[in-house]
């Protein structure tokens, strides 16, 4: 009770106009990020080796890997470890960070896509008042965000072991070549992007046309598209995670990997939607969004972070128990602290559980914690870092390897991506009404309540 205010047509017809400060923030982040990134490349390149960094490295790489006489694996690895390591780290580090940030922001977009479609096929009404925010995330970011992956098509050999180790060298990789080869890899990635972006644009178009024409026909059409998307999403998103993240260490395998990646994506998507809504309300928009909407986003964040931890443990526990070398090495690299395998990730490994499970679990447990800004906001900030931390741990041991660090390259790349994300999403947000005015469930959503007390 108590949410029985009525909202006038003007209040519902409002449009977002990007304030100058937000635009400046976005461009400032992009600019600062690029400067930091370049500084990081320059400093990293000059300090780690006498000779200029990246290009020399690539040559060195190809000369090692494309030699026709197949060397034993251990030799190739050693060559990496000894010489290539010092110089390779800058170029590899930039690519690894490009991959990390591309995946990070893509997962927000895909989480938002799942958010929209799963509510649509469940005939949910509560989210209708806030659905323009996930919509803006999907159509604002996805078509641009995939460019980062497209750029990496040309550098697959630099970070993916299977793409630069020639056939006949590594028996385990050879058995996977039918799946892990560049044409198929690029082909299915393009197919996934086409499906995801196609569905996002289609749903957005239906939603916008409904604003103008009203009626139920667009709403009804969106159900079939959403249902098809959810099924395709389940398969394609899992394979996307196998391809771009898991195949960094192609000897290792885990069938739950895609599910875990999905869990993390849903957490960050809900947190992002939450942050954007809070910002919009602070700017005076969307006054019809009430605590119950925040409460529900909080429940999702809470629930999916537990789900993430569940899959994290499910993966780790089975590998830890069975103790098979080619599976176990993945974790040995990440948490052992006492032997030569130590790469410097133990801090990140255990920190992962702290930021992505314990903080949201204890921080968002009570009802009030989910509804009040003062409690949700700190948790949201930790989770925004937490998803990055989680991906860092997935990507870096297989690419950068020893002695990871969070330096100028990491911060600069993330800042540049974040600035671009903010600009594109808020620009997309300004291109339509903040409320889907003709949506049949809008009234239900305006009166949304998660019960008294």
């Amino acid at each position: 009770m108590g949410h029985t205010h009525h909202f006038t047509k003007e209040q519902l017809n409002e449009r977002f106009e990007m304030p100058g400060r937000l635009r400046n923030l976005a461009f400032g982040l992009i600019g600062t990020g690029l400067v930091l990134l370049l500084a990081g490349i320059f400093l990293g390149g000059s300090s780690s080796a006498e000779k200029p960094a990246a290009p020399a490295t690539e040559e060195h790489h190809s000369s090692v890997t494309h030699t026709p006489d197949a060397q034993p694996v251990s030799d190739t690895d050693e060559a990496h470890g000894e010489e290539a390591h010092e110089t390779a780290s800058v170029g590899k580090r930039v690519l690894a960070n490009l991959l990390l940030c591309s995946v990070y922001f893509l997962s927000i977009g895909m989480g938002a896509m799942f958010f929209l479609t799963v509510h649509r096929i469940g005939n949910a009404g509560w989210h209708t008042a806030i659905m323009r925010v996930p919509e803006a995330i999907t159509v604002g970011w996805l078509p641009v965000g995939v460019v980062g992956f497209a750029a990496m098509f040309f550098f697959l050999g630099n970070i993916y072991e299977w793409a630069h180790i020639p056939p006949g060298v590594d028996a385990l990789i050879d058995t996977k070549r039918a799946y892990l080869n560049e044409p198929f890899f690029i082909g299915r990635t393009l197919l996934f992007f086409a499906i995801w972006i196609g569905a996002a644009l289609l749903l957005r178009r239906l939603s916008l046309r409904q604003d103008e024409e009203g009626g139920l026909s667009h709403f009804k059409r969106s159900e079939g598209i959403s249902a098809a998307f959810v099924i395709l999403f389940a398969i394609s998103y899992s394979f996307f995670a196998f391809d771009w993240l898991k195949s960094l260490e192609p000897h290792w395998f885990s069938t739950i990997f895609g599910v875990q990646f999905f869990g993390g994506s849903m957490v960050i998507a809900n947190v992002t939607i939450y942050m954007i809504l809070r910002y919009l309300q602070k700017q005076g928009y969307m006054q019809y969004v009430n605590e119950a909407h925040y409460h529900d986003l909080g429940k999702y964040t809470f629930g999916f972070s537990i789900f993430w931890a569940y899959t994290w443990l499910a993966q780790f526990l089975l590998i830890w128990y069975s103790n098979i070398p080619e599976e176990g090495i993945y974790y040995v690299k990440r948490y052992r602290t006492e032997d030569h395998e130590y790469l410097g990730y133990a801090f990140f490994f255990f920190g992962n559980i702290l930021v992505n499970f314990l903080v949201p679990f204890l921080g968002l447990m009570t009802r009030d914690a989910k509804r009040k800004l003062a409690t949700f906001l700190p948790v949201a900030v930790v989770l925004i870092y937490g998803h990055w931390h989680d991906l860092f741990l997935m990507i870096m041991p297989g690419t950068v390897g020893q002695n990871p660090g969070i330096g100028l390259i990491e911060i600069g790349m993330f800042a540049a991506f974040a600035g671009l994300f903010i600009f594109l999403v808020f620009r997309a947000l300004g291109r339509a009404n903040l409320a889907p005015v003709q949506h049949p469930y809008l009234e239900e959503s305006l009166h949304h309540t998660t019960g008294p007390v």
Binding site: M1, L313, F316, L317, W320, Y321, M365, T366, P452, V453
Partner: protein, 171 residues
């Protein structure tokens, strides 16, 4: 201990809410409302406090967690250490699923038992029916007669709000 109740019976839940609002204005303390289904928005009118069952659940869960970790550590680490595949005697990761299950078990069962006792709804408890039709289509407002100072005024309020019948009952 029997108490005398004044009962206002209604056909319509909206009339119940209206009557409750007027009674609240007059400062009359309502004992309880009996209804065939939950009435949305009735809690503030009956001064129902927010449940502390969630706090109890947290305590039960924390107890279950502590119990599981203590028992497993004592049994496998101190009393009877068993070498299982060369794993540590107290492996936190292998303990996690059991700890999780025990936490859930204690929190859930603790909540149910607390609910039965505080409710009270334990099995076999003889339920008080203010009116047999309260399980079908009648809504009953029950007021402890001892707490009514102005009997006529209360009756008037109930009938004006739409009560079709006003009776008394000892329960």
């Amino acid at each position: 201990m029997n108490r005398n109740f004044l009962l206002g019976k209604f056909w319509n839940p909206d009339h119940v809410l209206e009557a409750l609002e007027h009674l609240q204005d007059k400062g009359v303390k309502v004992y309880d409302v009996y209804a065939p289904f939950p009435i949305h928005g009735i809690e503030p009118l009956l001064d129902i406090k927010r449940t502390r069952l969630t706090v109890a659940a947290f305590i039960y869960g924390a107890f279950g967690l502590t119990l599981a970790l203590t028992m497993m550590s004592l049994i496998y680490g101190v009393v009877w250490p068993v070498n299982i595949g060369g794993k540590p005697y107290i492996p936190w990761i292998a303990f996690t699923p059991i700890t999780f299950e025990t936490t859930v078990l204690f929190a859930a069962h603790g909540m149910v038992l607390t609910f039965f006792i505080i409710g009270p709804y334990w099995p076999g408890k003889k339920e008080v029916l203010m009116d047999d039709r309260q399980t079908d289509d009648v809504f009953v407002i029950a007021i402890d007669k001892k707490k009514i100072s102005d009997m006529d005024g209360v009756k008037k309020t109930l009938s004006e709000a739409g009560a079709f019948e006003i009776t008394e009952k000892e329960a």
